[in-house]
């Protein structure tokens, strides 16, 4: 897989990795959540996964860094085959940043330490270098002044931005976002989205599960609509969000874009 180097404004250039999923299947007992999904993300590309809850989009995202183990299919991330039983999963995960819906910041560490612990323990960077990288990334998400705060002293939006800085501090080549704004108060959503928008501009490969259609339209190179464990429709944001062809996509977008729309059972 080819890696593309993009230059970016202030921070180090982003080395971007691609993702390739083939015939991915995942079941919980008799419940098949992913029914054979194939998806390619080119280095530097931003792909938004949309779809109703329970459509399998979060499971798909979690399969990419093996937080969920797929039953069948192959996953390639950068130079790694994640589904190879002999893969060094920890080495692969260093290249894959993950941002969770619930932030999952480490509550016993302050914002700076949240961003340094994996640098020192996993990448074996000296503390001073780790601190510098962490501070630069906290600046990057606009929170340089809150480095000493603990997670419970930060708002949801600030916590999520620290979580993004934590992932970026590992110099990932791919970022996974699992509904990063779904647990946020409406007034803090914008800050998180603007951080993500900048990241996309810098050339980071991003796979984003989201309900933010505005963000998808503006930032995504490609939008993938999933329902019932399959990819129903994919294309550019203009195609999928602007002019969907499948009825399930149309139905979903109608509900998401028009909250006052009420389904009346016939």
């Amino acid at each position: 897989m080819n890696d593309v180097v993009h230059s970016s404004g202030t921070s180090a250039p982003v080395r971007a990795a691609g993702v390739s999923l083939k015939d991915l299947r995942k079941s919980y007992g008799s419940n098949e959540v992913l029914k054979g999904i194939s998806l390619d993300v080119a280095p530097g590309e931003v792909v938004c996964l949309i779809g109703p809850s329970g459509s399998g989009k979060s499971t798909l995202l979690r399969c990419v860094n093996l937080l969920e183990q797929p039953n069948e299919g192959t996953i390639h991330v950068g130079g790694f085959e994640a589904t190879d039983p002999d893969v060094d999963i920890d080495r692969m995960r260093r290249k894959v940043g993950m941002v969770f819906q619930q932030f999952n910041l480490f509550p016993h560490l302050n914002a700076l330490q949240n961003c340094t612990i994996a640098q020192t323990k996993v990448l074996k960077r000296p503390q001073s270098q780790a601190d510098n990288v962490a501070r630069a990334n906290l600046e990057r998400v606009g929170l340089g002044h809150l480095a000493d705060r603990f997670p419970d002293q930060l708002s949801g939006g600030q916590q999520q931005r620290v979580a993004i800085a934590r992932a970026l501090s590992m110099d990932p080549e791919l970022m996974l976002f699992d509904e990063p704004t779904s647990a946020l108060d409406p007034e803090t959503v914008g800050d998180v989205l603007s951080v993500m928008r900048n990241l996309a501009k810098e050339g980071m490969t991003m796979l984003v599960v989201t309900h933010e259609m505005g963000f998808a339209r503006e930032v995504a190179d490609r939008v993938v609509f999933m329902d019932g464990g399959v990819v129903v429709e994919e294309g550019t944001a203009e195609q999928v969000v602007g002019a969907p062809t499948q009825s399930r996509t149309k139905e979903f977008l109608k509900r998401v874009l028009d909250p006052t729309h009420i389904e009346i059972a016939s």
Binding site: N65, R91, G97, F106, A163
Partner: protein, 263 residues
């Protein structure tokens, strides 16, 4: 005259307080203070207990308890991790151990390691080793259950976030999960230390030399050597409170602190 519910509750409280005062007064009046003063708690006999109660009794109680706690904490952590392991054999061993050592009296464990094991294997252990092992192995069983609950109380997302940053399982446990679990279990863990402090008295079943006496044995010995009724034992009891009450206060402080950080 009719009373409101509030007034009735008020009167009821006064009555309860009155009964309590009368009971205490009756107890004081009925007590044979003269006999108690000579053969149960004789102030004049307290003096000779010092300073030995510090250099032997209190010191040894603290040493035995600390050693037992160190063994109990490390063993308990190991057992807790085994109990949460995905490998069934580890879970069975941990469960068996915990059920066994929680289910038998600690006294029997002291006898087993004081007499049984040395006899069976032809080894010679000094008292400190026996206390460390016996107290530690009993403590490990209780602490394991406390720690297991603490480890399970750490949200699953914490482990996922740590693993996502490329931390191997053991590193994620050591740097992320276990520190948070300890914070959660500090109050119950402090209570374990209190129980341990009192259980250290069980080594009286072993033959001890005077320099090995801990508080209870020191007190029992004082009864015969000083001829002071129960005085030495009561003084020893007071010293336990000197250890345990600050620990209780500490546990309560931990509790209020974790209640504050948890929103």
């Amino acid at each position: 005259m009719a009373m409101t519910a509030r007034q009735r509750a008020q009167v009821s409280l006064y009555v309860q307080a009155g009964i309590f005062v009368v009971a205490v007064a009756a107890l004081i009046l009925a007590t044979d203070w003269k006999t108690i003063g000579t053969s149960v708690f004789n102030f004049a006999k307290i003096g000779p207990m010092f300073p030995d109660i510090f250099v032997a009794g209190l010191k040894n109680t603290l040493i035995y308890t600390s050693l037992g706690f160190i063994v109990g904490l490390s063993g308990g952590l190991l057992l807790a991790l085994m109990k949460l392991s995905s490998f069934p054999l580890y879970r069975w061993i941990a469960t068996g151990y915990i059920e066994f050592f929680r289910g038998i009296p600690a006294l029997l464990v002291f006898i087993a390691f004081g007499y049984g094991v040395p006899l069976a294997f032809g080894v010679q252990w000094n008292v400190t080793i026996v206390v460390m092992i016996s107290l530690g192995m009993v403590a490990a069983a209780y602490i394991a259950e406390t720690l297991r609950a603490g480890l399970q109380a750490v949200p699953k997302g914490q482990l996922e976030a740590a693993r996502s940053l490329g931390m191997p399982q053991w590193r994620a446990m050591v740097s992320i999960v276990i520190p948070q679990a300890f914070r959660i279990v500090l109050p119950p863990l402090t209570n374990e230390v209190i129980l341990l402090t009192k259980d250290s008295s069980l080594i009286y079943v072993l033959g001890l030399t005077a320099s090995q006496y801990e508080l209870t044995k020191f007190g029992r010995d004082g009864i015969s050597s000083l001829g002071a009724g129960l005085t030495p034992l009561l003084v020893a009891g007071a010293f336990y409170l000197v250890i345990t009450i600050p620990l209780s206060l500490l546990a309560r402080k931990f509790e209020s602190r974790s209640a504050r950080t948890k929103r």
